[in-house]
């Protein structure tokens, strides 16, 4: 039976700690939200796969498998697409890894391939929250010195899939 959604559940924000034990429940929640919104099991499975791989990457690489750090996942329907923002506060990536399949013998390195295959688009943003001090001295030349300190930052991976 297919039920029409008269009320949307938009957006949904979920927060987990950086533990691998939290990934599966969150992945299942995302799968259910996508299934509810689109009625497509394959769509929901694809999104879950991408989200799980992204969360695994955050825990392993941004937080070096240390538990107790925050990961915030926002799920949102935007017209005919689902958008998921995954935010962490750990080590930032300097570039998005290429979505290449490694050699068969390699036991890791398939995550970005899966993300790339299961989403229509994705991008990564590092947001830095800075403190900027600018000191002016009267010397007749309108010169100043400036000090910029990054107080905190967040990394946001956005996954998009159309239905």
């Amino acid at each position: 039976m297919v039920l029409s959604n008269t009320q949307t559940v938009n957006p949904v924000t979920l927060k987990i700690t950086s533990s691998v034990d939290c990934v599966s429940p969150l992945g299942e929640a995302i799968q259910v939200l996508c299934l509810y919104e689109t009625g497509s099991e394959s769509f929901a499975n694809d999104v879950q796969r991408a989200v799980v791989e992204a969360l695994n990457n955050v825990i392993l690489h941004a937080y070096h498998n240390h538990e107790g750090h925050d990961i915030v996942v926002q799920w949102k329907r935007e017209d005919n697409r689902i958008r998921i923002d995954i935010t962490d506060y750990g080590l930032s990536m300097s570039a998005l890894p290429p979505p290449k399949l490694p050699n068969f013998e390699a036991e890791s390195g398939r995550g970005w391939w899966i993300i790339n295959a299961c989403c229509d688009d994705y991008y990564y943003k590092v947001e830095e929250f800075i403190k900027r001090d600018r000191m002016y001295k009267e010397n007749g030349q309108n010169e100043y010195s400036e000090q910029i300190v990054v107080n905190s930052h967040s990394n946001v991976l956005t996954l998009i899939k159309y239905f």
Binding site: S108, I114, A117
Partner: protein
Amino acid sequence: MILNEKKHGDIDVVELTGRFAMANFSDVRDRLKSIIEEGEGKLVIDMEKVTFIDSSACAVLISAYKGMQLREGRLVIVTSSIVQSLIELTRLHTIFDISPSQAAALLTFDES
């Protein structure tokens, strides 16, 4: 994730049930390693009841495959539709020996 082990003659059968992902991959990998080391070189990993699989689970399957190759043994895997689709997505189906059911997997050892 539930891991159930049994023997069919000299064939080790490992049945996995539930989600096979990073949260349990090291437990499954270690258990499979022991089974491979102690076994007769014939192994079936039955994932017909696996409801989700990620890339870390793929790593465990590759590790088991390589372990069996080192012993000149043979690994046959049984997949659910969700497992099969990820294995195809990562092109591991071109390497793995895949059977549609545990019974069919066991039969392949009789043929070889």
